[in-house]
């Protein structure tokens, strides 16, 4: 027991936040949480837009007209990236739950795939609807 504690104390420790950095799958993890939180915060906005778009021809035209503003398009594009990013990272977690891609190299590679795919899909969907 005492042998264990001595050995444990000798292990190198580095908790200097300026020199250590989160590995890529860790970055994906925190982004999954941040995008999830933002999607939740934006929920009432999208429910409101959905309601307006269905309520009457006038309110439909109003919602459609919002898309004319550059800033609205930019926010929408950001939202699309958040949604797809959260979606694909979630799929990756489910694959890991099924023991697919658990190894370090595979886990790092799939993280890059998620970031690349969400960005490409954002551009494609953005080009299609904007």
């Amino acid at each position: 027991m005492s042998d264990m504690t001595v050995r444990r104390k000798k292990r190198p420790k580095n908790l200097d936040l300026t020199t250590i950095k989160l590995p890529l799958p860790g970055v994906l993890s925190i982004i999954h949480r941040i995008t999830g939180a933002w999607l939740f915060l934006l929920l009432p906005v999208f429910l409101w837009l959905f309601e307006k778009s269905l309520a009457s021809p006038e309110s439909f035209a109003y919602v459609k007209g919002l898309g004319d503003h550059f800033i609205v398009r930019l926010i929408l594009l950001g939202f699309i990236w958040f949604y797809i990013q959260h979606f694909l990272a979630g799929l990756r977690y489910m694959l890991i739950d099924l023991h697919k891609g658990v190894e370090l190299e595979a886990a790092r590679f799939s993280t890059k795939v998620v970031f690349a795919a969400s960005t490409v899909m954002m551009v494609v969907i953005g080009a299609f609807i904007l």
Partner: protein, 115 residues
């Protein structure tokens, strides 16, 4: 291995499973709505409305939204439990989140089946 009763207390397994189940429902709906949008290609109000006037689409949209609210509740609850240490504040935030998601469910009914 510790023997535990599967009732009477929550060990988080149900939530873990629900988080994935609701995610799958949302993924299926996302595929469906993309196909529907590609077929209908709505540009006018009537074309857009016709999608959700369809009773089956309204029903499936509602299932999607309930899955979304449930998914959001579990996720946001985890965030509060991880970062908010003060029991009173945490309880307040949990109640507010729960109230919001229940309220959104009622709102979704109103949107999809208004008279």
């Amino acid at each position: 291995m510790i023997k535990r009763k599967i009732f009477g207390a929550s060990y988080g397994f149900g939530d873990w499973l629900m988080q994935r189940g609701t995610a799958l429902i949302m993924a299926l709906y996302a595929t469906l709505i993309l196909v529907v949008l590609a077929i209908v290609q709505p540009s006018t109000y009537l074309e857009w409305r016709s999608i959700f006037d369809n009773r089956i689409m309204a029903f499936l949209t509602f299932i999607y939204l309930v899955a979304l609210f449930f998914h959001a509740w579990i996720g946001v609850r985890d965030i509060w439990m991880d970062y908010v240490k003060n029991a009173g504040v945490r309880l307040l935030l949990l109640m507010a989140t729960l109230a919001a998601t229940i309220g959104y469910t009622g709102w979704a009914v109103q949107i999809l089946w208004r008279v």
